[in-house]
């Protein structure tokens, strides 16, 4: 079968070489850090001064990732049960439904998304009080 070389098709791909003089698009981590994104669904935070211990968050979570546990520290005087949510990050899928149903808006999700610990039990995560 006769083959007519496609000269243009053979040479043109080499135009990609010009990218080698471009600046990288990636960040020079850890010198440069990613900017926080407003509304990112990262780790939970729970403002204990607002949480009323109603357990709505526990009820909506379809992964059963939320346990209501005894609160430590200052809590909302209206929190009759004295319980606050603790989240199992082995089960959570970051859907954010728990934050949607939270009446007083105490449970929220913020930009943090890295967590390192040698203690596997700490993945039963107590949301930071913010």
């Amino acid at each position: 079968m006769a083959w007519t070389p496609d000269v243009k098709g053979l040479i043109q791909p080499f135009t990609a070489l010009k990218s080698s003089v471009e600046q990288p698009y990636t960040l020079n981590y850890p010198v440069e850090k990613r900017q926080d994104v407003t509304g990112y669904r990262g780790f939970h935070v729970n403002s204990l001064a607002l949480c009323v211990g109603c357990g709505n968050c526990q009820e909506i979570c379809m992964n059963e990732a939320i346990d209501m546990v005894e609160a430590t520290g200052e809590i909302n005087p209206k929190n009759a049960s004295g319980l606050v949510p603790r989240i199992d990050y082995g089960r959570c899928c970051w859907c954010g439904l728990c934050t949607d149903v939270c009446g007083p808006d105490s449970l929220r999700m913020e930009g943090d998304y890295t967590y390192v610990s040698a203690d596997a039990d700490s993945f039963l995560y107590m949301p930071k009080d913010r």
Partner: protein, 376 residues
């Protein structure tokens, strides 16, 4: 089914190898049991089951709002058509009318999803033929789209954004401007992909006349998406059964007549331009108003006893949901019909017979097979 079937006898000299379940041909785990005569495939059998998570049953045991967060996980490369199907099915069953703004936002999300899915496909197609440059570019460009998704929904890959009754949040400030800038940039970059990939002599040699689909069987066997349009048949759910506001938008249905992997590549390339065209119209026409309608008994609302079938055009073809309500706050039945079930069995198995071993990943990728939606 065409020429070869699953049960063709293999010659005694053939060697059996397993291609997969982890390999560059598909996004997910699926294995091909191949019988080879030298480098040529004489029999191919698809094996799935590595990803079965039982989505359909999981959904039946969760309230409608809880189930909404699961459906996106049925397809990793393009989760949004699942969310759209689920939300639209519920709206149809419950008789909810969503606002114009929500419809436009949903079209924006779906087209961005299509665009990023095509970039991911481009990366896979490049990877499967040993092209090193285009995968890096495509994944990089996809990341810019994911940045927008992140700002819009709070998540990069699973957005959980298209919600029964509308969308979850309103557009953040400045998102449309960012989108417009990104589209300029992407459109400006697309000709570079032509030079390096689509018009590349080596790429054409690899893709042309490989994985040739029989156009006469296409409709009967239920092929869809770029596979069908690569056979010269202009079918697209957005045009044939318009949903949201697609009937008000201008776009073409690109087709090619080659029926091979290269024709499907060109169809997807043209669709990227069409998605950009649709997105520009969405930016220009985004109406003000509510983004979410009021749901009756929000987190515990009930569906009447009724059934519906909804379809969305995904990057890989028509994606359908059959949904049945039974008067409770749970779905009685959800059935997911993704394009991959026909492309991965009915089409792929006979298509691989006679193909070369080195073309297997290429052919699988060009059909756009996504195993999670086979094993929902």
């Amino acid at each position: 089914m065409s020429k070869a079937t699953r049960h063709t006898d293999t010659p005694a000299t053939s060697i059996k190898i397993f291609h997969g379940p982890q390999h560059p041909g598909v996004t997910g785990n699926m294995s091909m049991e191949l019988d080879l005569d030298g480098e040529t495939i004489v029999k191919a059998v698809t094996h799935v089951g590595y990803l079965h998570r039982g989505f359909e049953k999981l959904v039946e045991r969760r309230t409608l709002i809880q189930a909404f967060t699961i459906v996106c996980r049925i397809c990793v490369p393009e989760p949004d058509p699942n969310e759209e199907n689920f939300a639209r099915g519920i709206e149809e069953l419950a008789g909810l009318e969503i606002s114009e703004r929500a419809k436009f936002i949903r079209v924006m999300v779906l087209e961005l999803a299509r665009l990023q899915a095509h970039y991911l496909w481009l990366a896979g197609q490049g990877g499967s033929i040993g092209h090193e440059v285009v995968p890096q570019w495509a994944v990089g460009e996809r990341d810019f789209i994911l940045d927008l998704f992140e700002a819009l929904s709070g998540g990069r890959v699973y957005h959980m954004y298209i919600y029964p009754g509308g969308v979850k949040r309103d557009l953040p400030e400045g998102l449309l401007e960012r989108l417009s800038d990104l589209l300029d940039r992407l459109e400006q970059r697309l000709p570079e992909y032509d030079r390096v990939f689509f018009d590349n002599a080596a790429v054409r040699k690899r893709l042309q006349n490989v994985g040739v689909v029989d156009a006469d069987e296409a409709i009967v066997n239920g092929y869809c998406g770029p596979v069908l349009r690569g056979c010269g048949i202009a079918r697209d759910v957005r045009r044939d059964a318009p949903y949201l506001v697609y009937d008000q938008l201008e776009f073409d249905i690109p087709t090619e007549t080659g029926c091979d992997a290269y024709a499907r590549a060109l169809v997807r390339r043209a669709e990227m331009y069409q998605s950009i065209r649709i997105l520009r119209q969405v930016i220009a026409r985004m109406p003000p108003g509510e983004f979410q309608c009021k749901l009756p008994r929000h987190h515990k609302f009930r569906l009447p006893k009724a059934e519906t079938y909804v379809q969305t055009e995904s990057a890989r073809g028509a994606f359908g949901y059959f949904m049945a309500g039974d008067g409770t706050e749970y779905l009685r039945r959800l059935q997911v019909r993704g394009p991959s079930i026909v492309h991965g069995f009915t089409l792929l198995e006979p298509l691989l017979v006679g193909a070369q071993l080195s073309d297997v990943a290429l052919i699988m990728n060009s059909l756009g097979i996504c195993p999670p939606e086979i094993e929902r």
